[in-house]
């Protein structure tokens, strides 16, 4: 039996103006306790989808169900209480923290606002969280500029955790960090999701990071989900030609000089003017006549595996567990 998803998105669409459809008819489930990695290149709509799931950006159409309840129509106090359960960690630890405020106040703020906690409780929680993310309680008295990039990201994580959310969208949380610091934050996020039973949507363009963080992977291209798979199955052999090309483009840290690489030619099409048929056919090395005219749907090809392609690549059914 399939567990009930904590977050479920149905037919979600986000339009910018009249022309640009940033997110197109996305169906996606995130199950309790899992980390779903959402990957894709810039402009594919992954960030917009993540923000729309929390209603940071209002969707143009579709439903967002949190524990079965459609949150798209919520207003006022109900929305505020629900929002406390749904939090976000941003990419830019420099831009997302108010430079004038003390760190303890920054972390305590969502508790005061969303949970209506009293000041003393909020402050106590903030100190505990700063300790938990490895900064120590004394960090609360300082201001953001006194911290390095990695430390600021820890502050951002503490702030997101303050109202005890059940679902967190982390939007490129380690992309601005150096590799030695990136590993620290990845480990911290892994500890926190495990210890606190958090469910997370982890948005990233970096497939190596996603492999180390996610339980499942969803790939976006031009506003659509084109593949969903369990982590090991995905990295053992992607089913969509775009996923294959994306994985093949990652420079490999291997002694063999430049392995057989699938270099994708050309660039992604303009989201305001997507090609007919399959959106990827203009760059796909396997594209056939059908791909130019008929748009594929996202369909099941194996248990827990969906792909939006007329001719999915042969895959290993069970990924090797390592």
């Amino acid at each position: 039996m399939k567990p009930v998803p904590l977050m479920q998105v149905e037919g979600l669409r986000v339009d910018f103006g009249h022309r640009v459809r940033a997110v197109r008819d996305v169906d996606l489930e995130v199950y309790e306790g899992e980390t779903l990695g959402l990957v894709g290149e810039s402009g594919c709509g992954k960030s917009t989808l993540g923000k729309a799931m929390l209603r940071v950006i209002e969707p143009s159409a579709g439903a967002i169900r949190y524990l079965g309840l459609d949150i798209t129509g919520l207003r006022g106090a109900v929305l505020r209480r629900t929002r406390a359960e749904l939090q976000m960690v941003f990419q830019d630890p420099f831009g997302s923290l108010n430079p004038r405020r003390k760190v303890a106040d920054i972390v305590a703020e969502p508790l005061l606002r969303a949970r209506r906690a009293d000041r003393a409780t909020a402050r106590r929680t903030a100190d505990e969280l700063l300790d938990l993310v490895g900064l120590g309680r004394s960090a609360g008295e300082r201001r953001p500029h006194e911290f390095s990039g990695g430390q600021r990201q820890r502050i951002g994580i503490a702030r997101a955790l303050a109202p005890s959310p059940r679902f967190v969208v982390a939007d490129e949380p380690v992309s601005a960090l150096d590799v030695s610091i990136q590993a620290q934050i990845i480990n911290l996020l892994a500890d926190l999701t495990r210890d606190r039973g958090l469910t997370m949507l982890f948005i990233s363009h970096d497939l190596g990071v996603v492999r180390h963080v996610a339980d499942r992977v969803a790939v976006m291209y031009l506003g659509r989900i084109i593949e969903v798979a369990a982590r090991d199955a995905f990295f053992a052999g992607p089913a969509h030609p775009y996923s294959e090309a994306l994985l093949s483009s990652v420079p490999a840290l291997s002694p063999q000089p430049a392995r057989e690489r699938i270099v994708v030619e050309g660039e992604p099409p303009d989201p305001a003017d997507p090609p007919p048929g399959c959106a990827y056919h203009t760059r796909c090395r396997y594209a056939a006549e059908r791909c130019r005219t008929e748009e594929p749907t996202l369909r099941d090809i194996a248990p827990g595996r969906q792909v939006r392609c007329h001719f999915p690549l042969p895959t290993v059914q069970e990924g090797p567990s390592s």
């Binding site: 990695g150 150096d178 190596g208 483009s249 690489r261 270099v263």
Partner: protein
């Protein structure tokens, strides 16, 4: 190894800050051989960009102190005046930056910008320069170069702008191309295209390339030799295979281990490096990596270790005094 086209000796770059003197580059010796691709690797604040910019005097200013020797074709670029540097830049040494949009003139067609670079250093007519410009744009993989040459920078994608920057860099067939994080702002599929282009130009034109990057995957992909920087100094240097697959310095090892890879074994936890890099004005007297290092010894706190051949392969240099002791510790 062929004789160096560019030779750096005891290069120091210091920035005067309100807090004191920031030693961005703290005494670097480095040779770039003709036709090779040398990757200069480091994290933010390691001094890799400050080093590269100072080679052609791009970060000169009232609050910057640059000393040492940068020898190119018999002349010292550190001692050279601005007029001489202008003749060198674009002709003998070209620089490609990460942010192509900021580096290009937004009000000028890209073809004109390539043509102007040719005309700045060579006596050719407008029409001929334009034709060469179109040929260069074709060479760097821009489709329909006759049309694209008439575009303005904002009309091109990020990948395409970076190709234009490379075309400008190649306009006068320089001996040396310095590329500072040229693919960092690009998506991974576009990055693969640009890296392939850089590698092809290096091998076909024999251009020596100094590639500055933080991405070890990129290094593995294209580098012949690698120099690793930490806190303003080179801590390890050698061939691609030596540095990436038989590293000697604890920092190089730790850095390689902390990369989340798409292949290879999947760690339950990523082996992170504790603490953060030194970027401030205060530097300890000893090894700058010691506060984060897993193998420290009393000797590490005394003076900064010299970059020397120790236990690595032929030509492999490292700046770690522990040598064999460390090797034993790390195997255990």
């Amino acid at each position: 190894m062929s004789p160096p086209v560019l030779s750096v000796r005891d290069l120091r770059v210091e920035f005067e800050l309100p807090a004191g003197l920031l030693p961005a580059v703290g005494g670097v010796d480095l040779d770039l051989a003709a036709g090779e691709l040398l990757a200069l690797v480091g994290e933010s604040g390691s001094g890799k960009s400050a080093l590269a910019m100072s080679l052609v005097g791009l970060n000169r200013g009232p609050r910057t102190r640059i000393s040492g020797v940068v020898e190119l074709g018999g002349q010292d670029l550190v001692a050279a005046d601005e007029a001489r540097l202008r003749r060198v830049r674009g002709k003998d040494v070209a620089v490609v930056f990460q942010d192509a949009l900021a580096a290009l003139n937004p009000t000028q067609r890209v073809g004109t910008q390539v043509a102007e670079m040719i005309r700045t250093h060579q006596r050719v007519g407008r029409r001929q320069a334009w034709q060469r410009s179109v040929a260069l744009l074709r060479e760097v993989g821009i489709a329909n170069p006759e049309q694209r040459a008439r575009s303005y920078p904002h009309q091109l994608s990020g990948g395409m702008r970076q190709r234009v920057m490379i075309a400008i860099g190649l306009a006068n067939e320089p001996a040396v191309l310095i590329a500072d994080e040229p693919t960092t702002a690009l998506d991974v599929t576009i990055q693969a295209q640009v890296l392939r282009l850089l590698k092809r130009l290096q091998t076909e034109h024999g251009t020596a390339v100094m590639l500055i990057t933080h991405d070890l995957g990129v290094v593995a992909e294209v580098a012949d030799r690698v120099a690793v920087m930490y806190a303003g100094r080179i801590v390890e240097q050698g061939s691609r295979d030596q540095v990436l697959f038989a590293p000697q310095h604890p920092y190089t090892r730790a850095l390689l281990n902390s990369v989340p890879r798409v292949d290879g074994p999947l760690h339950k936890r990523l082996p992170a490096i504790a603490g953060s890099p030194l970027t401030g004005v205060l530097r300890p007297p000893g090894c700058a990596f010691a506060p984060r290092c897993a193998f420290t010894h009393e000797a590490c706190a005394v003076s900064p270790p010299a970059l020397a051949h120790r236990y690595g392969g032929p030509g492999q240099l490292d700046a770690c005094v522990l040598g064999a002791d460390r090797a034993e510790v790390s195997v255990a």
